[in-house]
């Protein structure tokens, strides 16, 4: 028996290691599909872009459109709101970044960087509070902009966080002007 044991030792070690390795690879290859199935499915990913006509939005009016299941706020800002937003120095802002998907990640949160040049009256931004995802209410709050009813975040007239628990400015989604009055979001 003892001679047989010594003889089998290498074979047994090999079997242990080989079985363990196959088991580990097997567990990982089972785990990946089980976890990844929870990520957005192909049909959700396919709903990528919408077009919006800005013409009917009067000055001082906001509309909300749905993009990828989330509200997008489009506001035709008044001259006073634009002026206030421009007058605010970036150093006064809790979040100094523009959070504009159309610009570089480190673009500063000036009013110019929140809108498109020459179309500064139209502010296009996600209606998703950067704190915990509620929809901020327009024409509310202490800064002539938006107020989130859930946990009391105040955004200014350029959608930048000014007071409250939200860490970031309202995000500006990727969008382009396809004509003078038509934008494509996504």
């Amino acid at each position: 028996m003892s001679t047989a044991d010594a003889h089998d030792a290498n074979r047994r070690d090999f079997l242990y290691i080989a079985t363990g390795a196959v088991g580990a690879v097997g567990a990982a290859s089972v785990a990946i599909p089980l976890i990844d199935q929870m990520n957005p499915s192909a049909d959700v990913l396919a709903l990528a872009s919408i077009e919006v006509n800005l013409e009917p939005i009067e000055e001082g009016q906001s509309i909300t459109v749905t993009w990828r299941g989330n509200p997008v706020i489009i506001r035709h800002r008044t001259a006073k709101e634009i002026e206030e937003a421009k007058a605010t120095p970036v150093s006064d802002l809790p979040d100094g970044l523009a959070r504009n998907a159309n610009l570089a990640e480190n673009a500063p949160a000036t009013d110019e960087n929140r809108v498109v040049d020459g179309k500064e009256q139209y502010l296009v931004q996600m209606g998703v509070c950067t704190h915990l995802g509620c929809v901020p209410i327009g024409n509310e709050g202490d800064y002539d902009g938006w107020f989130c009813p859930c946990h009391g975040s105040h955004y200014d007239s350029a959608g930048r966080i000014r007071k409250g628990p939200a860490p970031e400015n309202l995000h500006v989604p990727q969008y382009t002007y396809v004509s003078d009055t038509q934008i494509k979001i996504g």
């Binding site: 990520n39 959700v44 299941g69 509200p71 704190h131 915990l132 929809v135 859930c150 946990h151 939200a166």
Partner: protein, 418 residues
């Protein structure tokens, strides 16, 4: 306390079964002959009540699933269908919804009892920690269940709570997208919550079995906090504890039924009778009442990540309770200072609930911050210090001594009959 089994089946069929699968023996030893301290009061009946509540939620839940549709276009209507069309549906649906509230009422009393009588202390740390796990799984189950009716509060509650994970550094956004299965709370989210809401109660059953197992290894605590020393200190579970538990359960169910029959929506939010609208957040969103104290802690801290850490920390800190409490004496009955701290903690916890129910404005923010500070100070500063500084009252030498002493003081005439 788990001594030798006294199960001795006389019926030949039971004897035959006992030799092959001693299931009846396990039941007999656990729920009939099992010795319990003779001085357990009614605060000790909530463990049994909780087991019945879990079974009640599972039964009503399984029945509701026969009529519910987990699809955003039909979920809201299918709940109304249950309440209006299904035979006895209005009672069954309310029983399940109000049942969640009463499950939490019972669990809060059960946890408070454990804190008052020092049930978490050695050698019951594992028992206590399993209890904290049960509470966490209960919270997850309750949260996902509340999303299923797909009302306004369901939707926005789900959005806010899942968004908590976006506070995780670096991986926040991918985690939230993964939880949602999309870019917002939507059909994919509803369906997975439904799946997990069905699964987790059975996980609870498993952890409850471990909880009871751990309980039966160490034995129960009792109001004196003195360990059982002899057979004189105990009574058999049946009939003594069984009847006491059953009586308490009946009284508990009286209150439960009063709510189910006469005020089924009192503990909920009327706005949840509005179908979910992803484009409009209700003016005032709050979670169900049983999450309010933790919600208040979340909002007390003006930083997203730290707020989330504090909220989870306020429960996770209970895991460390056996080691944070430095006193050797278990029961608050013999700890004059801890007893006062316990009641202050209860008031603070209730106060946090009130703060959580109110909008995060002005004075409420300050109140929430003061209470949150005290909550953590209680566990991290006061408990360790009081255990070292306090002079406890003299402990009775045994449970039976304590029982006889109080009986003797109250009714000496009854003494001989004992």
């Amino acid at each position: 306390m788990s001594g030798h089994s006294t199960y001795n089946p006389t019926n030949p069929v039971m004897k035959w079964l006992d030799d092959r699968l001693p299931m009846p023996r396990l039941m007999y030893d656990s729920f009939v002959s099992y010795p319990v301290p003779r001085n357990l009061n009614y605060w000790y009946t909530f463990g049994g009540i909780l087991m019945i509540m879990l079974v009640s939620q599972i039964i009503t839940g399984v029945v509701l699933v026969m009529h519910y549709t987990p699809d955003t276009s039909m979920a809201f209507d299918s709940i109304e269908h249950i309440r209006r069309n299904v035979n006895y549906g209005n009672i069954l649906q309310k029983w399940h919804a109000v049942g969640a509230s009463f499950f939490f009422i019972a669990v809060y009393i059960h946890i408070a009892r454990g804190m008052y009588y020092g049930s978490y202390k050695a050698p019951r740390e594992i028992l206590w920690m399993l209890g904290v796990v049960i509470f966490l799984v209960m919270m997850a189950t309750g949260f996902m269940g509340y999303v299923l009716p797909w009302g306004q509060m369901s939707f926005w509650g789900a959005k806010v709570i899942t968004n908590l994970f976006s506070a995780v550094p670096f991986f926040g956004e991918p985690i939230v997208t993964w939880l949602w299965g999309g870019f917002s709370v939507d059909n994919a989210t509803l369906q997975r919550f439904f799946s997990l809401h069905y699964l987790l109660p059975f996980v609870l059953v498993g952890v409850v079995i471990l909880h009871v197992w751990a309980l039966h290894v160490t034995g129960q605590t009792n109001p004196t906090g003195v360990e059982v020393k002899s057979g004189q200190d105990t009574l058999p579970f049946t009939p003594y504890a069984t009847v006491k538990d059953a009586f308490a359960l009946c009284v508990f169910f009286l209150f439960f039924c009063a709510f189910v029959f006469y005020a089924p929506d009192y503990l909920g939010h009327s706005i949840n009778y509005q179908e979910a609208n992803p484009l409009s957040t209700p003016a005032h969103i709050v979670p169900e009442w049983y999450y309010l104290p933790f919600y208040a802690i979340l909002r007390a801290i003006p930083d997203k990540l730290l707020g989330v850490v504090a909220m989870f920390g306020s429960i996770l800190i209970w895991f460390a309770l056996p080691w944070l409490d430095t006193s050797k004496v278990r029961s608050a009955a013999y700890r004059p200072i801890y007893k006062q701290l316990f009641w202050i903690l209860m008031i603070v916890f209730f106060g946090l609930g009130v703060v959580g129910a109110n909008p995060p404005e002005g004075w409420w923010i300050t109140a929430g911050q003061i209470l949150t500070f005290y909550y953590f100070a209680h566990f991290l500063v006061l408990l360790p210090l009081v255990g070292l500084l306090e002079t406890p009252k003299p402990l009775p030498s045994s449970i039976s001594d304590a029982v006889l002493a109080s009986n003797g003081a109250k009714a000496p005439a009854a003494q001989p009959a004992e």
